[in-house]
């Protein structure tokens, strides 16, 4: 009689075979569990992980101002005074980081990056308010030196008394955002934030090929290192997670010249439109919701705004902040 003759198998054989099969499955499962690397790549996980401090000023509350005018120095001054003055946000001895958009080695006339006039004026205002230092930074990926030079940001910042922090390999440390699906053990530009007490984002209003718009929240993308282009496949989630990761003191959204089409790089002046608007806000979601209107879009058409608002990071109903509106010639 063959042992494989199932019609002759007895209870004892059956239990034995089932036990063996169960043991084999348990061994395979156990081996899988044992070999599973919960921490991810050792090169990343073994490094010290970091997180950004919360730079927001709860005492200032949600505020927003919308100032029209073509002169950035004038509009940003009025925008800040409308919020209560730069002194409401920057105190004596503060160490301020200005996160600009210097993503491309592109001249300011093409409006693909933060405008040097705005960077210089905000740096001056911070120093005048008593800031101990102002650091201007971004991670443009492509030759940071060229980007900061050709955008005019380096010269403008230094002339205003600020320092430029160009990213190097050692400027990054991995960060993990709790509950995030994308920001896990990801390199974050952290070095310029050592000792920093305040963070101001300075972003231009631009069309964006993947996200629909690049504004205040998208500006934090420049704090990521590594091959961050992988996130473009899920651009709305990464912008939302960045809005959770970065809690700024203030955001300044420059809609003096808006890149209406072919963003974020642009290239032709015909991509640009003089929208002559400067927005300052403690609520980046509200700032972006208004910024969308400069692009001829609605907040509802940009999913990252809805995600951020739903998570309580700010309001997409910017009118609920009763923004102060004014015009300066």
């Amino acid at each position: 009689m063959s042992r494989l003759d199932n019609s002759k198998i007895d209870r004892r054989d059956f239990i034995l075979r089932t036990a063996k099969a169960g043991a084999a499955i348990a061994a395979a499962g156990g081996a899988g569990w044992w070999l599973h690397d919960n921490k991810g790549p050792s090169g990343i996980a073994s490094a010290e992980t970091v997180s950004l401090p919360d730079f927001s000023s709860p005492s200032a509350g949600p505020k927003m101002s919308i100032i029209t005018g073509a002169d950035r120095a004038k509009t940003i001054n009025r925008a800040l005074s409308a919020l209560g003055g730069i002194e409401l946000f920057i105190k004596s001895g503060d160490r301020v980081v200005l996160k600009v958009n210097a993503a491309f080695a592109s001249p300011p006339a093409l409006s693909a990056t933060s405008h040097p006039d705005l960077v210089a004026e905000v740096a001056r205002l911070c120093l005048r308010a008593g800031a101990a230092s102002v650091i201007v930074t971004d991670n443009p990926i492509n030759d940071a030196q060229s980007c900061f030079t050709l955008t005019g940001i380096a010269k403008a910042a230094e002339s205003a008394g600020a320092k430029i922090a160009l990213p190097t390999m050692s400027s990054f440390k991995p960060t993990t955002l709790p509950g995030a699906t994308l920001i896990k053990d990801w390199p974050l530009l952290i070095e310029p934030f050592h000792g920093a007490t305040k963070l101001i984002g300075l972003a231009p209003v631009k069309d964006h090929n993947r996200a629909g718009a690049s504004m205040a929240m998208k500006n934090w993308y420049g704090l990521l290192g590594g091959r961050r282009n992988v996130f473009h496949q899920d651009i709305n989630t990464i912008i939302f997670e960045l809005a959770r990761l970065v809690r700024p003191t203030l955001v300044i959204l420059d809609g003096t010249t808006t890149m209406m089409t072919n963003g974020p790089t642009g290239g032709s002046m015909s991509d640009l439109k003089a929208t002559n608007t400067m927005i300052a806000s403690t609520d980046a979601v509200a700032a972006d919701a208004f910024g969308a209107t400069l692009l001829g879009k609605s907040a509802a058409s940009l999913p990252f705004i809805g995600k951020a608002a739903a998570a309580g990071l700010g309001t997409a109903d910017f009118e609920s902040l009763n923004p102060l509106r004014d015009h300066v010639d």
């Binding site: 790549p41 492509n142 091959r227 290239g267 032709s268």
Partner: protein, 337 residues
């Protein structure tokens, strides 16, 4: 086989079935988990940027003899599909989905001061349709057509053109007359070195000329109109016949291998529209072109003619959509004779 053996056999079958079910569950778990792959792994496994091999430039990206008024301002930069995002972060996908092969860019300045400069980008897209695709998708509304090649225009501060498999941009922030003249001279030299050749896109000739907006033809090589079935869709803008409204409509066509493929693609696109909130117009005539579909407050028509699927996208009303679709269908029939 007695009753007891039959019972045992059944029990074993069930036990075996449950074990297989467990294994299938594990396989499903592995399959599901791969979609939440930790992106940090990519960082850890990627070669450091500094260690990247510097690739060679697009052959002849820069004409051997520069226009005499130009001087080299920077070394050429070269990018391939895996690193082009470094130069055009945020827009790389537009090129990659259209078959991007290689890009070389370099800055040049006007002699003698070097204060006025421009950047010269040469994208090797592999083939004329691919180069035309990225050219057409970025065409500026204020474009002024220039006779440099069949697909070329300029704006206040830049030149954009296709020459064969290459898409070229020359951009300056200081559009002085000497700089624009120098840019044009360099463009002519490039075209002389890389002539457009005899390659053409016969699909463009299938669009009827009546009410066609000049220079509006385009090519979308992925996910046209949000539908992933469209992978090679030629488009052209049309003013509504009779000028009833200022809203344009987009005529489109994609050539497939067989008539059956075209019919299947037509049906799939119709299903896609209907599954995403579209509704057939009750009053629409069920002509050979099919009933118009109201989709997000604009009108769509899709039909097939031999091995071509074609239609009208985002028309302001059913009448406009039907007229343009009929013109397109007539043109397709003529073109195929």
């Amino acid at each position: 086989m007695n009753q007891s053996s039959k019972k045992r056999c059944g029990t074993e079958q069930w036990a075996g079935f449950i074990i297989l079910l467990c294994l299938a569950g594990i396989a499903a778990g592995v399959y599901y988990k791969q979609f939440s792959f930790n992106p940090a792994v990519l960082v850890a496994t990627a070669a450091p940027e500094a260690a990247k091999t510097i690739s060679s430039p697009v052959p002849g990206a820069v004409p051997p003899a520069l226009p005499p008024e130009l001087a080299v301002l920077s070394a050429p930069e070269n990018f391939e599909p895996d690193d082009v995002y470094i130069k055009i972060d945020g827009k790389a996908d537009l090129y990659l989905t259209a078959g991007f092969v290689h890009m070389t860019c370099q800055r040049f300045a006007l002699k003698p001061t070097n204060d006025v400069w421009m950047e010269w980008f040469v994208y090797d897209m592999g083939a004329l349709p691919h180069a035309f695709s990225v050219f057409s998708l970025q065409r500026r509304a204020e474009a002024q057509t220039i006779g440099l090649t069949p697909f070329a225009y300029q704006t206040q501060n830049a030149l954009f053109f296709v020459s064969g498999r290459y898409y070229v941009e020359a951009v300056t922030a200081m559009p002085t007359e000497p700089m624009m003249t120098a840019m044009m001279a360099m463009a002519r030299q490039f075209v002389a070195a890389h002539p457009p050749g005899a390659a053409e896109m016969p699909e463009l000739k299938l669009f009827p000329p009546e009410n066609l907006e000049a220079g509006s033809q385009g090519l979308q090589m992925a996910d046209a109109f949000g539908f992933d079935g469209f992978t090679n869709v030629f488009t052209a803008k049309y003013q509504p016949p009779g000028g009833a409204t200022n809203v344009e409509a987009l005529a489109f066509l994609e050539v497939t291998k067989t008539d059956a493929d075209a019919a299947a693609l037509r049906d799939n696109y119709r299903s896609f529209l209907l599954a995403n909130g579209g509704a057939e117009l009750a009053s629409g005539d069920a002509t050979a072109l099919g009933k118009p579909i109201n989709f997000m407050d604009s009108i769509e028509i899709v039909f097939s003619e031999s091995n071509i699927v074609a239609g009208v996208h985002a028309a302001p009303d059913a009448g406009t959509a039907t007229k343009i679709a009929q013109q397109l269908a007539d043109s397709l029939r003529k073109g195929m004779k």
